[in-house]
């Protein structure tokens, strides 16, 4: 079981801020493929992953990051703080 959280327009497209998933994905990229295959709203949100950033257990990460032992994955657009 893994918590997946979404922010900004990713959250709006997917329609929920957070969900807990049962997944066999080994990496972030595999998790994305699994989600895209699931429903249109995911396919839309993940259509262009170059427009997305990912954090694994609250640390900025990359799409090839492994999911073993991970509790939370977050997807969001490039940050606009400051």
């Amino acid at each position: 079981m893994i918590d997946v959280v979404y922010f900004a327009w990713v959250r709006e497209r997917i329609g929920v801020p957070k969900e807990t998933l049962d997944t066999t994905a080994q990496t972030v990229a595999q998790l994305i493929e699994e989600l895209k295959a699931r429903e249109e709203r995911y396919a839309l949100a993940f259509a262009d992953i170059s427009a997305l950033r990912v954090a694994v257990d609250q640390e900025l990460s990359t799409f090839d990051a492994p999911l073993a032992g991970v509790r939370e994955v977050a997807f969001f657009p490039p940050m606009t703080g400051g």
Binding site: V5, F7, A8, W9, A55, Q58, E59, L60, E72, A74, F76, P77, P78, M79, T80, G81, G82
Partner: protein, 146 residues
């Protein structure tokens, strides 16, 4: 070293007053305050979303880097989330070092990292509707100098 992520407004002057009392033996205090800008008079308000579990630790990591790299005596980062109106203060950074060049560089470094590496997202609301602010290439490029 201190980080505050809050929805409440803050008073930059009061923050500087308190911060400057931390200065012992240091010579240079730099502050940066960001203000909500209304580009063309059309902005009604802005909503800042953040990632609570990540925001504090991410900013602390950035601040730890700045403190050791520029030998800071003290540093402060305040960043707001929630609803902000034009003219409101969004965020503030303060640094203290023995030398002015270090205090300036550390403050600019913190700003550049907060822009592109702290998990905040801005949504602007105008009479025409709402839209997420897109990250700017030049903000990403600004990180390359450090």
């Amino acid at each position: 070293m201190s980080v505050r992520v809050q929805s409440d407004p803050f008073d930059p002057g009061q923050e500087l007053s308190q911060f400057s009392q931390l200065v012992t033996g240091a010579g240079a205090i730099v502050t940066f305050t960001g203000v909500v800008r209304d580009e063309d008079g059309s902005l009604d308000h802005m909503l800042i979303e953040h990632y609570p579990a990540m925001t504090g630790p991410a900013i602390e990591a950035i601040e730890t880097q700045a403190v050791s790299r520029w030998d800071l005596q003290a540093s402060l980062v305040i960043h707001r989330y929630g609803t902000l109106a034009p003219g409101d203060h969004i965020m503030m950074v303060a640094t203290v070092s023995r030398h002015r060049a270090n205090a300036f560089s550390a403050a600019e470094f913190l700003m550049d990292y907060l822009k592109s590496r702290a998990p905040f997202w801005k949504k602007e609301f105008t009479a025409d509707g709402a839209s997420w602010v897109a990250a700017k290439d030049k903000d990403e490029d600004a990180l390359k100098r450090w």
